[in-house]
Structure formats: structure tokens, C-alpha cells
Symmetry: C2
Subunit: 500 residues, 2 copies
């Protein structure tokens, strides 16, 4: 059981940047010069990334996550930031108190008249999961370059993407320019454990945190693209459900007792059957009442998106997709319409010939604007209770929703998205696709809900083959281009009309 | 993968019993004297059981199972048996050849004019399953007596019950009497691994094995009773099914892909839904066509049986049983009508938010006379294929039946059953209930089918609290009464008219 006990204290440290500052006219030349500096600094960037990778900041490792936060604080202070470490309390794990690593807040103030951008990043890495066939190795924490690829734990998720920002700040400095925007970093080291402490902290300190902030940018591996550049402007929400049906105190035997009792598994299967069909329809009454209508603009946008249906089929080995394999409808159904997937049934440690006494199914409903987890839970609960009661089962049913993440969608034409789009176009010479993602990105949903600001997921580059199970990797080009995209994005933002 | 490679050789050894033999008039006095001898031999019986328990004959342990078979052969030769060890070949387990322990055939011939009884027993024990919380301990193999209970691995399943026969032979000897019947033992040490080799051996040698045999008696722990003595004269068959539904090559993500594909789990749940309902009915068309009609005699017999519905409910914690909780119908439905239980769904090592690519459900149908596994498989297959095809799923379905055990039922009024019933009544002073068991006892089904003889499961005594997960135990009284029941059963058999 995990409980959150919060105990906020602040520990302010200041270290103003006092380098020489000259004002440049923003121009193509200006960016070309910046890109040249970035290319020249390659060696330094690698050294810094090597340092970051060498810290074994596996999520949940108290001392190593603390160490990576301290390391980032030192780096940012060297770059001229005013930093504070925010104590976000402790949690109780298996009866033991676990002190959470602090959240690092770092401000690099360029000019009060400029736009302020809040950048979220995380520096903890996923623990190596030996059970999934991964290899735990000291080498994982030693950054190496092989044939244009950087290998090392966390290079993609997400030390590399965050360091692109550090690199960009340094590049502007070398360039002799002021930063185009004011930056406020919010950096945590608990993300892979569910960002414990962070959301409560942000929620309780939103007045201070979002003061003067115009835009928010998320620096995380979730925003890597594959072939054509993309910018994600929405994600579905996630309602994870469990249904438990319980009969007697313990398992019975299918031979000795089969035929005497109404089996919990029969009830459960019958409930699951009523949730969805093999056309992908959700059978919960009035389920789509609050789903936004598709606008003509959306129709056009989905029509333009690139998606190779037959390549997807041959990659997955699926013989026939839903929706008559129509590209537009497929993309809509994976991103802007809800879907329901049954994951499995847990029978505890039942023997293979048992009548399990207690069975738990888990399924997920991906929800979309304007659905809310509360509304969806209510509809599912009422529906399943109706079916269960009608069946006159002597067993007991429980419905729970352990995960509830609201959907999010941004305005892809606002200044934040326009700037990102232009930055990508400059660096990749290709206009990015604006897409909505089918999966859920809790940090975006939550930051958008708490701040009310435009939240952007900035892709740092191509992820072709970049996330492998056994060895984290990032292409050198991806890493270098990421720094250029970040720099250009800041530059483009500064050209937009300032909003509050 | 397990393959059977058979290579039969015979290794005959003879050792005739040459003790002094006198003929007694069978009488109450005769039995009372026998019981007294049995009570006096208690110490010797314990010593022999201690020897048997000390051999760590875990099923699959080549040298220890060989050792227990040799031990039993020596014991039986000392008791006057002519013994042979039957080589039943080898099996291939994980690519390695595993030589099966031989089957021990032992004949104690009293008089050619007497009835011959074949006794089946096994001497391998279940391996201690550490994963189920059992304790592996040297003490398990050291027989100890504590407060009237004998503790030691295999005392109940089934070294104790088989040794009751050895004890009985010795008791008749001490008594100065001929054995009332001729005995032929068939003893194996592979039972807990599925009796590999035995059935093929019996099938190939039935002419020799069953020559002159009138009756068969099974000595195993499955025939222990709880409170009132019972004799089991039938058991349901068992058809274990698996249904596998497969979509693409590997799992998809419910967020990223949910809504694009027809999910295998949805198909599987819908198939399961069509198999049974929460009234315990099997929905496969024409399923009960070959189920025997209930006769008026059966109605009366089930009416007489003792079964405490409310005690069962409170013991299991089940709020309401099926069939309006009518005792007679409940007992019929757990033993003489078929039932269907769904055990669970295997999703491999899918992540908790996955759309599993391959899902396998397992369920068991318990079948009854005159159903056959072949007929049931055919009906289930045709029905599920019809439903699946109608659903127009793009996925692939496979149906398999890895376990197929036919039902069995004996004539509870034949000489074999009458003798057992009288023996129990003499020892326990209570007439036993004649019942049919809901679970499957493969050895009985198979011996009955191959031999065409009357097969009896002889209960060696009360099993109240006698099978615990962590420590095998048998009450001293159960063990001693078992020897008396076995002796009396032989005596009663000898009074019956001889059949072939």
C-alpha cells in the first residue's frame, strides 16, 4: 500500500548568470550560426550526457535519484539558473517510509518583457527488468558511441531530451545572445514510479509556479516520432477497470463440486461479453453521448495524415483491421474515439482444475474529450450492476477504477504549437503532422488541467529503432537535431505575441 | 514434449510360500481372532511403514522409485509371492531419455479353485511443492507417531493403504490360515506423473494379466471417506479443453492501437459466454443426448444419501447453491450429470495494459455414462466453430482437448461391491453409502475399459483431517482399520460365488 505524506519545505539557492549579453537581430543567419556552434560543441554535449548516464538513477533508488537531481542543479546553476530544491515529502512503501527525491525548480531569467516557458523533464530511469529478458550490466551506465548511435541507460528516456535544453542554453551563451525566452525548469526523478509527490506539489503551488508562465513544454521520450515528423496535440484518457466476482471462501474442485455451484468465472465472462464486440463497439448504453462530433476541419486533417495501412498489417501480422481498413477511420478510432480492451483475468493461485472462488478481470477504456473518468465509471458501473442483478447470481461483484487519467487536447494553432511546428520544419525540412495520440500521457493531462496553459510535447527527433528493450539508444543525429529544435522553438516563441 | 518409447522385457522370479497351511471354518470367531492378531502386530506394521516412508520415492526420481519397487518386491517375496518386474520402457522428457521404473507384478496363489483378485497400488509420492508453501524437510521421510496420528510422506497417498494388504497377508499367515483368495498385485511408481508406461503395458498384456482374475481392487488415497463410510461405484469422465484465439504476431498497446483491431480476447470471452450459464446449464446443442436417464431406483438411492446442505454452505461460504438447494438434485448434478467449469485465461507474459495477441482459455467438462470424450469433443468443436465463423472474426481459433478420461460406473450389487460393503460394515459397524464421485479417477476408467471386470475402489478408512497440504498424515486407527477392512473384504469375497 502506498500512502502519501507531504511535508513541504523550500530550500532556495540563487546563482545569477553574469555573462556578457548582446542583442542580435533574429534572422536566418542568426540560426545558421547557432546551428554551427551546436555542431562544434558535440564533444562537450557527449561529455555532459556521459556524466548524466553514469549516475544510476533507477526510479526508486533514493540516493542515486537524489544524486542526479543535485547534478542537474549544479549544471543549471553553471548555466546561470536560480535553483531551488522542493521537498515533496515521503511515501510509505510496504510499511517503510521512503523519502521522495526533491523536485528541482530552476529559473533562467532573460528579460521580464519576454515570454516565460515552463519546461518539464525527468531524470530517473526505468529499472532494468530482468524478468523481461533484459540484461543488467555496468555497461548500461557507460555512454558509448557506435556507428552513429549513442548507447546508455536513459539516453532516450529522458536524460538525452532534457540535456538538449541545457545544450541549447549553452549554445545561445556561446553565440553571445540572450536567451529568446525566460525558462523555468521543473525536473523530477520519480516519473517512472508514477511521479509521486509532484502533482500534489504543483497543485498546491500553482500560483507561484505558473506566475508569468505563458507556455508549457514537456521534454520526454513519449514525443519521439518515427519517420515523418509529428507533433502530438492530444491524447486519450485512460480508465483502468477491475471487476471482481467472488463466490465462496476458497476454490472448489471442478470434478468434486462442478454442477452444485454458480461459478464466479461464468458470471465474470458474461459481464465481459456485454462490454464490447468484435467490431470494436462499446456496448455500455449512452457511452458516446459526450464524445465530440467530428468537425469538417478534422475530417480534412485526418484525411491528410500519413498512415500506411498495409505496412501496419504486415508489421503486426494482423489479417484484417477494423473499420473496413479505411485509413481515416482507423486513425480516428485509435486517437479521437474511445476504445475498450480486455487485458486478462486473474484467478490468484488457483489449480488448473479448480473452480476459482474469486476472479478479477481487468480492462481499459480509453476516453476522449469531453468524457470524464467519473462519468465513464458511473456509466460502466450502472450498466454492469444492471446485468449482474438481472442474472440473479448468488455471487458478489465489485467494480473498481484504479487508474483514471482524463483525456487532453490542445489547440494546434496556438503560438506554442505554431512555434514548435516551425522549429521542426526548419531543422527537418519537413512540415510535421499534427496528430492526436491514442495512449495516455498523465503529465500532460494533469499539467493542462492544473495550469490552464497550452501544454506541448516537443519531439526531440526521430525514434527509428531508438527504443529497444535491452539497450537504451539514441542516434547521434537525433540528439544533435534535438538541441537545434529546442533552440529554434525558443527562438520562434520569442517572435510570437506574448500571452499570459 | 513427452513421447513414449516402449521396450518390454520380462524378468521372472519365483519364490513360493511354503508355510504350514490349515483350513478354518469361516466364522465370526475366525474374524475376531484375525482382528486380534492385527492389533497385536501394530508395532511390526509401523516398522514396515517406517521403512517404506524412509525411501524418498518422489515421482520422477529414477533411483528412489526403482528402490521402492525393489523394496516392495522383497517384502512380497517374503510374504510368499512370485514376483516379476516388468520393464515398461522409457519416455523422453525435455529431450532426455527417462527410464521408467518397472511395474511390479506379484502373485500369491492360495488355491486354483479360489477367486483371484487383482490389486492395484502405487508407491511413488507427490514431490513437495515449495511454491505452494509446503516445507521440504528430511523429517517428512521419517515416520513418527504423535497423539494417535502417523506423520510421514506418503502415509496416506498411498504407501499406507497398500501396506494394509501386506499386513493382511501376514495376519492370515499368523492366523495359520490360507489366504481366502488368490492375489495378483500390480504396483507402479509413476502414478503421480500420470502412470506413464503402465496403461500401455496393461493393454498389451491383458490376456496374461487378467487371466483367472475375477475382480479388481484399487488401493489408493482417492477412496478415503470423511464421516460416514462410503463406497464409490462411479466417477465422471473429464474432458479438459483449451480454446486459443490468435490475432497478430505480438501484443499491441491498448492506448496506441485500441480501436483499430479486432481483439482476440473479445472473441474468446464471447466463445466462453456461449458455453454455460450461471444456472449450471451446458449450452452446447444436443449435449445431453447420451446421458443416461435417471431410473426410479436411482431416485430412491440419491434420496437416501446423506448430505448436509447447510453444513456444506457454511463450510464453503457460498450463499446459495444451484438447483434450489435440493439435496437430491445437488448430488445428482455433482456426480451423475455433466458439468462445465471455466478455469481461466492464459495471456502469456502480456503487460497489464496490452491487447494480448494470443489468449488461451481452459475449461473442463465432466462427462457421464454414456457420453464419450470423442463425442463431446466433436459437439463442442462444431458448436464453437459455428459461433466463431458467424462472428466473422479476422482472428484464428484452435480447440484442443489435452485430457480425455471416460466416465465409469460399476454395478454396486455385484459380488465385489457386496463384499466390500460387508467388510466395511463389519469393521465400522455402519452400512456404507454407495456413491458416485464427481471427479475423475483415470486408473479406474482405464482398468474397467481394458479388463471388462468389476473394479472397486476400497476405502481404507476415515480421512478426517488426514490430507493436509504440508504434512502427510494418517490416523493410527485408520491404518489399523484399513488392514481389517482389507482382510475382511478378502474373506467376504471368498464366500461369494466364483465368477470369471
Amino acid at each position: 500500500l502506498i500512502k502519501s505524506t507531504s511535508n513541504f519545505t523550500s530550500n532556495f539557492k540563487f546563482n545569477f548568470f553574469r555573462g556578457s549579453i548582446t542583442v542580435h537581430t533574429m534572422s536566418e543567419d542568426y540560426l545558421e550560426k547557432l546551428y554551427k556552434i551546436i555542431d562544434q560543441k558535440r564533444g562537450t554535449y557527449f561529455d555532459v550526457l556521459k556524466e548524466a548516464v553514469s549516475i544510476r538513477s533507477e526510479t526508486g533508488d533514493q540516493s542515486e535519484t537524489m544524486k542526479i537531481i543535485s547534478w542537474a542543479e549544479t549544471k543549471l546553476r553553471q548555466l546561470g539558473a536560480a535553483t531551488t530544491l522542493q521537498d515533496v515529502g515521503a511515501i510509505i512503501v510496504d510499511g517503510k517510509k521512503f523519502k521522495l527525491p526533491p523536485v528541482l525548480i530552476a529559473d533562467i531569467k532573460s528579460d521580464a518583457s519576454k515570454t516565460t516557458l515552463l519546461v518539464y523533464g525527468h531524470l530517473d530511469v526505468r529499472p532494468t527488468n530482468a524478468s523481461k529478458g533484459s540484461i543488467v550490466s555496468t555497461e548500461d551506465y557507460n555512454l558509448v558511441e557506435e556507428n552513429g548511435v549513442l548507447f546508455g541507460k536513459g539516453v532516450t528516456d529522458s536524460k538525452g531530451p532534457l540535456l538538449c535544453w541545457f545544450n541549447a542554453i549553452e549554445a545561445f551563451r556561446e553565440h553571445g545572445s540572450e536567451l529568446p525566452v525566460n525558462l523555468r525548469f521543473v525536473i523530477e526523478a520519480m516519473k517512472e514510479s508514477g511521479s509521486f509527490g509532484l502533482m500534489e506539489y504543483i497543485s498546491n503551488n500553482k500560483g507561484y509556479l505558473f506566475k508569468n508562465v505563458s507556455y508549457i513544454c514537456i521534454s520526454d521520450s513519449t514525443c519521439l516520432f518515427t519517420t515523418k515528423p509529428v507533433i502530438t496535440f492530444g491524447g486519450r484518457g485512460c480508465c483502468r477497470f477491475t471487476i471482481t466476482v467472488e463466490g465462496g471462501k476458497s476454490d472448489l474442485h471442478s470434478g468434486v463440486h462442478g454442477g452444485m455451484v454458480s461459478e464466479p468465472m461464468t458470471d465474470l465472462v458474461s459481464l465481459l461479453c456485454n462490454l464490447t464486440n468484435n467490431k470494436g463497439e462499446i456496448l455500455v448504453p449512452n457511452f458516446r453521448d459526450n464524445v465530440e462530433e467530428v468537425t469538417p476541419d478534422e475530417e480534412k486533417a485526418y484525411h491528410r495524415l500519413s498512415f500506411d495501412v498495409s505496412a501496419f498489417k504486415s508489421a503486426t501480422g494482423i489479417e484484417k483491421l477494423l473499420h473496413k481498413e479505411d485509413k481515416k477511420r482507423l486513425l480516428m478510432h485509435r486517437s479521437r474515439f474511445p476504445s475498450l480492451s480486455i487485458h486478462g483475468i486473474d484467478t490468484g493461485d488457483s489449480e488448473e482444475d479448480a473452480i476459482p472462488a474469486k476472479v478479477t478481470a481487468s480492462f481499459t477504456i480509453r476516453i476522449v474529450p469531453n468524457q470524464t473518468p467519473q462519468e465513464v465509471f458511473h456509466k460502466v458501473q450502472v450498466y454492469l450492476m444492471y446485468i449482474f442483478n438481472k442474472s440473479q447470481s448468488p455471487n458478489r461483484m465489485t467494480i473498481e477504477m484504479p487508474v483514471a487519467i482524463p483525456p487532453w487536447v490542445a489547440k494546434p494553432n496556438d503560438a506554442n504549437y505554431k512555434s514548435a511546428s516551425k522549429a521542426i520544419q526548419r531543422v527537418y525540412k519537413q512540415e510535421p503532422d499534427l496528430i492526436r495520440e491514442g495512449s495516455s500521457i498523465p503529465i500532460v493531462s494533469e499539467l493542462q488541467a492544473i495550469s490552464g496553459k497550452s501544454v506541448l510535447l516537443l519531439p526531440v527527433g526521430s525514434s527509428e529503432h531508438s527504443i529497444l528493450k535491452n539497450r537504451d539508444r539514441i542516434d547521434v543525429k537525433t540528439f544533435m537535431d534535438g538541441t537545434k529544435v529546442v533552440s529554434t522553438y525558443m527562438y520562434e516563441l520569442s517572435l510570437q505575441k506574448k500571452v499570459k
